[in-house]
């Protein structure tokens, strides 16, 4: 008996090979995402993928779900309309780091604040890849980019802390070098009834890697293993520069669409 692990059924195969560079981490996210959806057994007709603009956001074209490829930074606002209008749909929103946290920062905050049952995947490759490798708010001080030829002076910030403070009830982080954890966290995020955020470190070997002399895709994946530790690890105390992987927030609070049903109930009782 052979186990069926094929995810072909969840892909729009006619568009493969996809447009991402050889070794791009976003392909690994796509891989983990369709595996998670398959394991959850979600009906394809009940899944809407809403993305913004950028290499990350192209992911929505490759999956055989309802797909909504919107404008830069606003995917969560479109997704809020989809979800509130038809709460029975599973809404997944893959976005790049610039898309979600730069131009999209405000919508990220408010989707989290509302705790609306949407799964946000922040595919963080610390650059704007599609447009040629400009620095992003996640690049960090000292990084070289096409718009930071003398190295960036811009601080980055912690996406996990922002999500937590804004009110997200499921917040996790992993990298594309940890594929089992990747699928697990995406599964949990989709299954969570509330606003879920999974920050996924992904590599852009073509721009971020090359401009900062980080080697190729394989080197960058090895670096993800070296620069991250499981949440709670002792190593973090000794080296604060390490990033923790795991689930940072997981709690049950009133979900927005369900809370709105109460508004309807109150309005109709009068």
């Amino acid at each position: 008996m052979t186990e069926d692990t094929s995810v072909r059924d969840y892909l729009r195969e006619r568009f493969f090979p996809h447009m991402w560079c050889p070794g791009c981490g976003h392909g690994i996210v796509l891989n983990g995402l369709v595996r998670a959806v398959k394991e959850l057994g979600i009906n394809k007709n009940e899944l809407v993928m809403v993305s913004g603009i950028g290499c990350s956001s192209r992911i929505s074209g490759y999956v055989d779900f309802h797909s909504l490829h919107t404008v830069h930074g606003r995917a969560l606002a479109f997704a809020t309309g989809v979800k509130l209008s038809k709460p029975g749909l599973n809404v997944i929103v893959p976005m790049g780091d610039g898309d979600a946290l730069s131009i999209g920062g405000n919508h990220f905050i408010h989707a989290a604040r509302r705790n609306i049952n949407i799964t946000a995947l922040v595919m963080n490759n610390r650059t704007y890849g599609m447009t040629g490798g400009q620095c992003s708010p996640m690049s960090g001080v000292g990084i070289k980019a096409s718009t930071a030829p003398y190295a960036s002076i811009d601080n980055s910030f912690d996406c996990v802390e922002l999500a937590r403070a804004a009110g997200a009830t499921f917040v996790a982080r992993t990298t594309v070098a940890h594929v089992n954890q990747l699928s697990e966290l995406i599964k949990k995020a989709i299954g969570h009834n509330g606003f879920s955020v999974v920050e996924i470190f992904s590599q852009c070997p073509t721009y971020f890697g090359r401009k900062n002399k980080l080697g190729g895709a394989v080197d960058m994946l090895k670096a993800f293993k070296e620069m991250t530790v499981p949440l709670g690890s002792e190593k973090k105390k000794g080296n604060p520069a390490l990033f923790e992987r795991g689930i940072f927030v997981e709690k049950e609070l009133p979900e927005y669409c369900q809370a709105y049903d109460q508004v309807i109930a109150r309005a109709q009782k009068r």
Binding site: L11, G23, G27, N31, V179, V218
Partner: protein, 74 residues
């Protein structure tokens, strides 16, 4: 129930030869061939962990397994 490798199917159109599967394989099963595409060099070492299948950014690898106890005992 233990699984063992039946075969790898590597889609030659989709594989972009990034070498990630080669590097991630814990048992050095895969190589890049002369066309710079992933290929199976040492199938006998494969432990069917599926890291190649799950990590491939091109979704080009499918790992087919069969039960090592393939005489029907469950």
């Amino acid at each position: 129930m233990a699984k063992r490798l039946k075969k790898h199917e590597i889609n030659q159109d989709w594989c972009k030869g990034c070498g990630i599967c080669v590097a991630m394989c814990p048992k050095d099963v895969l190589v890049l061939d002369k066309e710079d595409k992933a290929a199976v060099a040492r199938p006998e070492q494969c432990i069917a962990c599926r890291l190649c299948e799950k990590t491939c950014p091109d979704l080009a690898i499918e790992v087919f397994t069969e039960d090592s106890d393939s005489e029907g005992k469950r």
